[in-house]
Symmetry: C2
Subunit: 444 residues, 2 copies
Amino acid sequence: MPEGTVQNFGRPAGGRYNKRKTAAWNKAAPQRELADFLDINVSTVSKAFKACEIKGLLSATVGKGTYVSFDALSNVRLLAENTPVHIIQMGTTVPDHDANEYIMKILRNLVNEPGNEKLFSYASPNDTLWQKDAAVLWMRKCGFNTDSHSILFANGGQNAITGILTGLFKYGDKIGVAPHTYSDMKAAANMLGIQLVPVSFIQEENNELNSEALIYACKNHNLKGIYIIPDHQNPTTYTMSVKARKKLAELAGSLGLVIIEDGTYHLMSTPKRAIADFAPENTIYIVSLSKAIAPGLRLAYVSAPDQFRMQISNALYNINITVSPLMAGLAARMIISGQVESVLDTHRKKNILRNELVNKYLSGYDCRGEDTGIFRWLMLPKQITGADFEVLAFKHGVQVYAAERFAVGNTIPEKAVRVAVCGTETLEELEQGLKVLTELLNSL
Amino acid sequence: MPEGTVQNFGRPAGGRYNKRKTAAWNKAAPQRELADFLDINVSTVSKAFKACEIKGLLSATVGKGTYVSFDALSNVRLLAENTPVHIIQMGTTVPDHDANEYIMKILRNLVNEPGNEKLFSYASPNDTLWQKDAAVLWMRKCGFNTDSHSILFANGGQNAITGILTGLFKYGDKIGVAPHTYSDMKAAANMLGIQLVPVSFIQEENNELNSEALIYACKNHNLKGIYIIPDHQNPTTYTMSVKARKKLAELAGSLGLVIIEDGTYHLMSTPKRAIADFAPENTIYIVSLSKAIAPGLRLAYVSAPDQFRMQISNALYNINITVSPLMAGLAARMIISGQVESVLDTHRKKNILRNELVNKYLSGYDCRGEDTGIFRWLMLPKQITGADFEVLAFKHGVQVYAAERFAVGNTIPEKAVRVAVCGTETLEELEQGLKVLTELLNSL
DNA sequence: AAATTTGTCTATTTACATTTC
DNA sequence: GGAAATGTAAATAGACAAATT
């Protein structure tokens, strides 16, 4: 252990402050010890630690101690390496680009409709009403039956999340998330001072609800809500069983929890009823068209129950004023016209094709995720961490994302990387990337 | 004064806690008195008050006391009234809708270009580069010479502001703003826990810089930055002199202040060099195309100096991921092709036409603002407050916005209302609204 | 099961700075 | 110009609760 870190704060080895036994390498000194050493009060240290915790850098538990978050430890390393000339992009998750021409076709029709100049004015309530109806149709396809007056618009899924977080929670509030949660969510929460608490919602063995973990975290951390992706979770790819959804819905009711359900990956999984369907009063449902249709279609639909709608609506107003009427109109037309079915169909076929390639190369490994998804979760052999493998792959020209990027708080990152399936332009490039990955895996 | 308010906290009239002399009706009891009464410590009260202050409900000054914000006092009243059947909209500020067909023309061309499907993928760096060049051109038109690598994109002006606030400031930070500041800015800051401090930047007599006020507020409140609209300020319509801009630039440098300059109304005023031009290292410049061109063009350009760019860029990423490539492409094409000139020209003519109508009806009153602007600041006779006039006008079917909506912190609202000039569809409707307003004014 | 370790939270102390009168 | 009024902020005390051993 190097000197001068938060772990040993420059204490001479073996001195009176080093009486602790073998501890995890990311364990910080106890607040009292540090206070004693610095000759200040415990709660002063506590306050300083709290600030770091809200930023997601530390996580502390009563009786257990304070630990440095793994992503705080690994981020620096991941960025420090030098870049090869061409990188095969298997890091960021995007849908296949084959939908673009469908959307363009709709747009071509749209621009020739009479009276369409109003697409550059503020939308009138009349316009948004039928668009909300379209959103309801889309939501139904995504497993949730809602009604048009519950619908709000956002500029994509991330924008929806930011709106919900700012609207419903305040600085310092805590919400529960899966121990590995997708990194943009983490970044948004850190930025807003909303603390993420890792909760193992789901039992790995059977995809059932881990009620104890939830109840425990809830009363222990005073959780205000949870954020959950029930289908093909990002990044670990598990899908909650219907029983688990039902159970979660019940629990949330009795615990007074707000559920933020991200239905974005519903269509890339075997369709199951949304949690929102079981707990409509407590659940905010998000579906992102950017992920499901095309990244350039910057739109997401949010369905919020009465008790939360106004707050979220105000927050979205404060962030965006409004979404582009053109985007909203385009999306609604795709849905109403049924063209969106063709897009989904094409996507599905392409995804399966790409995933077959993944299977061909990585079938010898534990590479999780359904064939209809746009990313996979590749478990690595014990001797290498995700972060090390990410660096290794990057040096060989392939970008994947290490588990460390997704680990929340004191979660010990799995030895795994997320592999995006549609990040490359072509199938050939994907194959090239997969070859590199298998070679690296075999060489370990 | 009613009992049981924050002012008297239920004390019996004339009791030992009522020794204060005549005080402003919005003055709260001193922290020590309240603490004494509740039998708790002063700083406990102080902490509670602080929470309210961050939300913009109170404002406290050492030695002076604590005051309830005027907009906190008036908002309830303004919403409580019942709605007439049809409302003439002179509340929200929008540009004239005559630009829409120009944009639609560009869009029609765009959809027929080959290779345009990529407008629904993520934008490549190649695409954004020429769009940033377009942004630079546009910024130049708005009085600021910048370069393309400083440019960031946002989903409209409000979105840009949210990004800048979250990126550069943290919960509890204070930034200086004009005593009357446009309400969406206030709402965004309140939501994010960023405290707005009213500073009379500008001397009303001559539009010169009020250096003392700025220096004072800066050291007294430890301001981290200021937000300022130098041209046709919203809502008061004043425009800073060039000398004032230069002076402010110098001062900001020596005070270590971040300047957030909102150039949105530059084109509606007599062109003057931007503050950013005098203090490029300290100034973030925002121009909103939604306000200048069409409300449905949800795009704003941000130019940020090196020291701030990454933080703002990250914040915008966390909020939006990215802007719509279609919006960005559309805006850039309008600028590069020069079509935007026709739009501005049409806007200007329309604005003058509409403002002439305003002048015709309101010339007898102190109705401030240039004829090229999209709103005016109507000073009312002494006997009526802005809030009361807003309610009165609303009852007669005209929506205007009272000064109370814009008053920051302990600012005493002017007796004035903001009158939007392009809110109505037609000139006739505008005239109708103006008739109502003059009749009401004459009847006072 | 009891003692110990460890983090948390609320209210407080205290010194201080500014404004008012 | 000095005393009083008033709000601010950092550090602290101390009771508390959960986890560990």
